[in-house]
Amino acid sequence: MSPRKRFFYNMNTCIGCGSCQVACKDSHNLLPDEYFRRAGMRSMRIGKEQRLVPFSISCNHCERPACVAACPTGAMYITEDGLVLHNDNPCIGCGRCYWACPYGEVSFSKTSGYAQKCDACLALREKGLTPACVAACPTESLHFGEYPPESGVLPDLPFLPDPSLTEPSLRIRKPDALRKENEDGAVR
């Protein structure tokens, strides 16, 4: 088994510019209202204030993916390097994966009717390139590769589902402002 590949996302350096989202849509020829990666400002409480923080999310390539468990035809599958991919061939467009994903990261293609999601730019990676969102990030806040799980923390943020549901492989660095709340400096 190859080492698990995952996205790493630094919320401190992200400026919410949306370049990742645009590059993703462009790279996958997505139609309006179709997204594999979404970036924007999310509201969350930091200290006593409710603040807007930039956040970018795609499929988290979970370690216990609900989409794979729900798929009746094996169209959703886990690769050797731990990524969750979708194969159009067995897909019958039933939408069970769409409803199962707590992050809302599976959608129906407006072109084919099949389920669709982030494949971490498989076509680009096969050419030795990085995923389009990573390459497009002007602040190098997004990374993709064989990062160990301790390279960041789980995305347990108030605007996201509980990570214990599907154990996302995504690791993030939370806003430093959160660190200051804890005397030992740990981000919780």
Binding site: S43, N89, G93, G104, F108, K110, T111, G113
Partner: protein, 395 residues
């Protein structure tokens, strides 16, 4: 043409395709030949009513590309009509030649039932079974504003929703007093009706005639005198198994070819699977069932000893703002006492998750155990409900 093959698969639907896959997994050398009336490799029928009509392309529906069949040395013979099967001589006669087999998989599927209304033979009266039908729907929709769908089952509603998205004003005519009477309880049928915004649904109707002019369907006339003008009529009144060849060959048949859990037909070296087979008098006519049965039939034809396991038999209808899930017995037996537990749920709508937040969940219990359930709205609770029904959890 006269040929002898190790495995002869009659039909190229889901059952035939997955039978071929299963044979190849066990037998890498035996010759496999699939005979089909169609002109393309196996495609996914469920996608016919789920693909966006506006961008429909039949090439997208294939289960596997033609290269895969070449690599696996699975030969397809297209546009080949099967005329007869001789189980004793292990011989199949077709309009393109005679074939002798060692093992035969009978997977001829079914055909859409069109009730013999006066006018059912007019142009513009369609069913949805083949890719060609979708091309016809688009062709007949040109310059038309109205369409009528006869039959308010899952396929009927799916095609009605797609036609509506395509820009047509759709009327669904259902003979039963409510929608999906076999799958849903009366209250959920009513609630489903309320959710179908923009589609006119008339239940409890009796169709008198499909009226036409110049040989083309132009309206549907009901027995009560109501008339629905339309440019086309899509008929979705269920399917019937293709058993004529099987009956003539002496295979035991009910409404479909009778099989056991190993997909054996009772005649040596013939297995049946998919929409043309019935196990314990039942056929769900589902893709998942055809695939599961095909795998078992193929594996057993290649010397295995497999029996049919569980497969997903739930109903899922995704219609934009309206979605429906149903599984199991929803108080369908009037002889039994059921208890219904209804829950209205609101899912936490995370800022990144754009699914509709509300759901109505119903669980039906009989003798203290769950027998079935359904969800209308947000179907995120579907997997949990499926597990509960599979385990038969107590009230």
């Amino acid at each position: 043409m006269e040929r002898c093959v190790d495995y002869l698969i009659l039909g190229s639907g889901a059952a035939g395709h997955y039978a071929a896959e299963a044979i190849r997994e066990r037998d890498s050398r035996g010759s496999i030949l699939m005979l089909t009336e169609e002109g393309t490799p196996t495609y996914k029928r469920p996608m016919l009513s789920k693909s966006p009509l506006i961008r429909f392309k039949k090439d997208r529906l294939s289960v596997r590309g033609e290269t895969w069949y070449r690599e696996q040395r699975i030969e397809m013979l297209y546009q080949c009509r099967i005329l007869s099967l001789d189980a004793d001589k292990k011989h199949v006669e077709t309009d393109t030649g005679d074939f002798y087999y060692q093992k035969c998989i009978y997977a001829l599927g079914g055909y859409n039932f069109v009730p013999p209304f006066p006018g059912h033979e007019l142009r513009g009266v369609l069913t949805v079974r083949r890719t060609e039908d979708l091309r016809k729907i688009k062709e007949y929709a040109l310059g038309e504003n109205n369409a009528v769908v006869i039959g308010g089952g899952v396929i009927g509603l799916e095609i009605a929703l797609e036609m509506q998205r395509y820009g047509l004003q759709v009327t669904v005519l259902e003979a039963s007093p409510r929608l999906m009477p076999r799958q849903l309880d009366p209250q959920t049928s009513e609630e489903l009706l309320d959710c179908l915004k923009g589609i006119r649904v008339c239940t409890n109707v009796s169709i008198a005639e499909i009226c036409g002019s110049e040989g083309r369907a132009r309206s549907v006339l009901l027995a009560d005198g109501r008339s629905f003008p339309c440019g086309m009529v899509a008929v979705s009144c269920g399917q019937k198994a293709n058993i004529v060849i099987a009956q003539a060959a002496g295979l035991p048949c009910g409404r479909a070819v009778i099989v056991n859990e190993r997909m054996e037909t009772g005649r040596k070296d013939i297995w049946a699977c998919g929409d043309c087979a019935e196990l314990n008098g039942f056929n769900a006519a589902l893709w998942t069932q055809a695939a599961a049965q095909g795998r078992v039939a193929g594996a057993n034809a290649a010397g295995g000893g497999e029996t049919l396991g569980e497969f997903d038999r739930s109903l899922v209808l995704n219609g934009g703002e309206m979605s429906l899930f149903a599984l199991g017995d929803l108080a369908s037996d009037p002889q039994k006492q059921y208890e219904c537990r209804r829950t209205e749920r609101t899912f936490q709508n995370f800022s990144i998750n754009t699914k509709p937040p509300h759901a109505i969940e119903k669980r039906f219990y009989c003798n203290g155990r769950i027998t079935g359930g359904c969800i209308l709205g947000n179907l995120s609770g579907m997997e949990k409900m499926k597990r509960e029904i599979a385990e038969g959890v107590k009230l």
